[in-house]
């Protein structure tokens, strides 16, 4: 028999029929589709018991308490702690996204020493013993050369800050520095007007106020303790003074678009109007203040609404309207500190705002500007004298031998110009304690990475303009993800090498307990310690037991003019704040990057906001590519038109343009800080930059 194609055909047909009658094709089709739901490269989160751990957020000064949701040993979500008086169960996006910082690619795996050229990104891993020995060696080599060792600390209070200061003292340096904020100016102003004991701060009792006059403060966008202030912004009557329609301005009942940087002058013009119209609190001024006559004469001579108009551009009618509203409220308060309050203001401006509050009697009372008692640490804190000048020295060439950074990221936050950046890069030895590969760590010679706030126990003193002193406790919600070490622990260990007597503690935890003293019980039980309010309430104050307030005529200029030649730089650059962008030392996580609007950042390029009128004059259109130049640097940007920004002003978002971290965070947009330069207040020496003159050219 010859087998031909008919037989094969029959075989094939039989095979086909048989296959169709078997489960093979049908099950395979089904399983292939199920395979697509179970691809090995699509993660399947492990299941486990779900529970909450406590904690505190340190990503901004806000002092929010956390409820960290865990599944098994993993952190899966960060929520606000409902027990917290500050954030009552809510949390901002930056705080929530910390899970991605914790597990993210910018984490530093362990102690490392530089292996290549500086900033090249080549590292050699060290053991912790090795790294600590390196640090001790470097420090002892410089021991005695007083000016040369600098430490920058994220906080000027608290247990770790004190250890840093001790370590400096051990090598004979007094250059313990922190990044100044508006609170540093406010405290200086308080010392002059109301007297100040060490550790005392300034607060604003926004809970009990009925009207907030905000002099450029981004109440709804991150000033003070953000979550709490957002609630305030949503609930209270507000008057907002600033050149750009921010969220706060939009939510305010009155928006006063004063020229950039003139908020202090505007405050004085309101004060003058109150005196002119006799709207001030006569009783308070008469019974509880000093120096009113001289102050009011000075005010009426220099800052009548009419005279101020030349500076602020605000009509006397609007000034009067604000004065009437402010004076007419029961318990108004004027707050200050532009944007998130992370940049100081001039002392003169702070004194002006103090005076305005005093004219309404809004000092040391419910809903007013109040003194905040010192936090009762048992180990006293010394404050840094001359902080402004010492900070300025860090960005001067040849003034520093060794720089240690604990959470301030100076290569981002202090690099206000190309010169400043160069000076920082010229420091011979740079040591970072950052858990993240931030700009400073990337330029460091030695990295001794700290735990993140979710991995460690640590006191977090809150300095966010609250009405009372407050400390929260960061708690280890999760075992360290990397080979990191608590900086406190590391400092004790290194300190022992240098000066055993100054570091008598066995470990950080016992030191922490000792340092916190009476606060420890509350901290360890509830994760939070709150002090009493130091000011007088209701009836007590009526009886005239209040401290006296002194009206001080400011010496320096109230309005600092912007750097740069007006003819070369016809525009004024101001920062734009957003709660969606962490503008501090630590950058945003991927989740927060999602939330940034495409009018802020588009395909990796920052946008500048400008008024359509200004744009028309400059021949620019929506979406145009342009170069933004100040006397401190230039960056490529795109243009977005916004009616809410004052003509002649351009606004650039603060907090972008990170160059380090990882691909998800770094290389996105441009840094406002790098363009802003320094505007030094002669009275305090602080850099009080509120903006810079700028030009914007197409291309």
């Amino acid at each position: 028999m010859k087998i031909n194609r008919r037989h094969f055909l029959a075989l094939g047909m039989g095979a086909t029929a048989g296959t169709m009658l078997s489960p093979l094709p049908w099950k395979l089709t089904d399983d292939a589709s199920i395979w697509t739901q179970n691809w090995a490269w699509t993660p399947v989160p492990e299941i486990g018991e779900s529970y909450y751990a406590g904690g505190a957020c340190t990503l901004c000064p806000g002092g929010c308490s956390l409820s960290v949701r865990k599944v098994g040993t993993r952190v899966v979500k960060i929520e606000g702690n409902e027990e917290s008086p500050i954030n009552t169960g809510d949390l901002c996006g930056v705080g929530i996204s910390a899970t991605q910082l914790l597990y993210g690619p910018s984490r530093i795996e362990g102690p490392m020493i530089r292996a290549g050229k500086r900033g090249e990104g080549k590292w050699r891993r060290l053991s912790w013993e090795g790294a600590e020995a390196q640090l001790a060696e470097k420090l002892s080599a410089l021991s005695g050369s007083k000016k040369s060792v600098v430490a920058l600390s994220a906080s000027k209070q608290g247990s770790v800050a004190l250890l840093i200061q001790r370590l400096l003292a051990a090598v004979g340096s007094d250059r313990f520095l922190t990044l100044p904020s508006v609170h540093d100016t406010l405290e200086a102003a308080m010392a002059l007007t109301m007297g100040r004991e060490p550790g005392e701060g300034v607060g604003f009792d926004t809970e009990n106020t009925d009207l907030i006059l905000s002099l450029g403060s981004s109440v709804a966008e991150g000033w003070g303790s953000p979550v709490r202030m957002v609630k305030t912004a949503a609930a209270k009557t507000m008057i907002q003074v600033e050149p750009r329609l921010s969220t706060t301005a939009s939510m305010a009942d009155i928006w006063v678009p004063a020229k950039p940087g003139t908020e202090g002058v505007f405050a004085l013009s309101v004060a003058a109007a109150m005196i002119q119209e006799k709207l001030y609190d006569h009783l308070f001024v008469a019974t509880a203040t000093e120096g009113f006559d001289a102050f009011s004469a000075w005010l009426l001579e220099n800052y009548t609404p009419k005279k101020a108009e030349a500076v602020t551009g605000v009509s006397p009618a609007l000034v009067k309207k604000v004065a009437v509203a402010f004076a007419g409220a029961r318990r108004p308060v004027a707050i200050c500190g532009r944007g998130k309050g992370d940049t100081p203001i001039s002392l003169a401006e702070a004194l002006s705002v103090f005076a305005l509050n005093a004219l309404k009697g809004s000092v040391q009372r419910d809903g007013g500007l109040v003194k905040v008692g010192a936090i009762p640490y048992t180990l006293a804190m010394a404050e840094t004298d001359d902080l402004g000048a010492k900070l300025a020295a860090v960005t001067e060439k040849g003034r520093t031998e060794l720089l240690m950074d604990w959470g301030t990221n100076p290569f981002y936050t202090l690099a206000t110009s190309q010169e400043a950046a160069d000076a920082l890069a010229a420091i011979p030895t740079i040591i970072s304690f950052s858990p993240y590969m931030d700009e400073t760590a990337a330029m460091a010679d030695l990295i001794l990475p700290d735990h993140t706030h979710l991995e460690k126990i640590q006191d977090v003193p809150v300095r966010a303009g609250l009405e009372r002193p407050l400390v929260t406790l960061a708690q280890p919600a999760v075992d360290p993800v990397m080979t990191t070490k608590h900086t406190g622990e590391m400092l004790i260990s290194v300190g022992k090498e240098l000066d055993a007597d100054a570091f008598p503690w066995d470990d950080y935890e016992s030191y922490l307990e000792e340092s916190c003293g009476e606060m420890w019980e509350a901290l360890s039980e509830g994760g939070l310690w709150q002090g009493d309010i130091a000011w007088k309430r209701g009836l007590e104050r009526m009886l005239g037991t209040s401290d006296r307030f002194t009206f001080v005529i400011p010496e320096g200029p109230v309005f600092l003019s912007a750097n740069g030649d007006a003819s070369r730089y016809p525009l004024t650059l101001v920062p734009r704040s957003s709660l969606r962008i962490s503008s501090g030392a630590v950058a945003d996580a991927p989740f927060t990057m999602k939330t940034i609007e495409d009018t802020v950042l588009l395909k990796g390029v920052s946008l500048v906001e400008m008024n359509p009128v200004t744009a028309k004059e400059a021949g620019l259109h929506e979406g145009d590519t342009a170069t933004l130049t100040t006397s401190f640097g230039m960056v490529p940007v795109k243009v977005t038109l916004f009616d809410g920004v004052m003509p002649g002003v351009v606004a650039l978002s603060k907090g972008l343009g990170h160059t380090a971290f990882d691909e998800y965070i770094g290389g996105k947009g441009s840094s406002y800080t790098a363009l802003s330069g320094a505007m030094v207040d002669s009275a305090t020496g602080f850099n009080c930059t509120w903006g810079a003159r700028a030009s914007l050219k197409r291309g």
């Binding site: 029959a10 075989l11 047909m13 039989g14 095979a15 093979l24 395979w35 989160p45």
Partner: protein
């Protein structure tokens, strides 16, 4: 090649495969058909399932009967947490309550205590009934809400003396018990299969509706 030559070749072929041989060959053709049919049926029903699933043993043997006798019920080990979630397979911590030391002489006991208890390592049990990640299965709704018995879905595993091998679908990565051991998908008992259709059938019967997607998916 000439046109006519080509044509002739064609005719010859046609002739050889068709016409004359046809009648005698039809039986042979049928035989080929049957061979093809039988072979592919065998492949589909017998060989294919063997290829599709991989078999592996559990880390060590375990007797549900012994444990059920000792502790009395399923819920002592397979319990609900306070938040209503179901704890599933016991963790080492639970087992240690009784198995700090070696009890009895079984090999499994020795392995457990030496390799896991002593080392503090969780036992990597392979779960026969684990649903895919897209499924939210509420034990609370079924056991507490609907008062169902464990056996309705899990069968008689509670009465087993030892653990059967774990079979995994090589393509989908899921336990064979989801589809059931019968490759045709037919089932006799309520626990033979745990596909969506099976959930639906029961829901339809007891609740009047198969329910919305988000009842059981996440």
């Amino acid at each position: 090649m000439s046109l006519t030559g080509e044509k002739q070749t064609g005719r010859e072929q046609t002739g050889s495969s068709g016409g004359p041989e046809e009648k005698g060959a039809s039986g042979v053709v049928a035989l080929f058909f049957i061979v093809g049919l039988a072979a592919s049926l065998a492949i589909g029903w017998i060989v294919f399932p063997k290829l599709l699933y991989s078999k592996s043993e559990q880390p060590f043997d375990f007797s549900h009967v012994t444990h059920a006798d000792a502790v009395g019920d399923c819920e002592s080990c397979h319990f609900f947490r306070e938040d209503g979630s179901y704890a599933g397979v016991p963790t080492l911590e639970q087992c240690i309550e009784c198995h700090e030391e070696v009890q009895g002489e079984s090999e499994a006991e020795r392995v457990f205590v030496e390799e896991y208890v002593a080392e503090g390592r969780e036992v990597p049990w392979k779960s026969y009934s684990r649903q895919p990640d897209c499924v939210f299965f509420s034990h609370a709704a079924h056991v507490k809400g609907a008062q169902m018995e464990c056996a309705e879905c899990h069968g008689d595993i509670g009465e087993s003396e030892s653990l059967k091998p774990y079979e995994e679908n090589k393509l989908t990565g899921y336990s064979r018990d989801i589809w059931g051991s019968n490759i045709s998908g037919m089932k006799e008992n309520s626990w033979d299969r745990m596909k969506m259709e099976d959930c639906g059938a029961c829901h339809k019967e007891t609740m009047g509706s198969k329910g919305a997607c988000f009842q059981c998916h996440k």
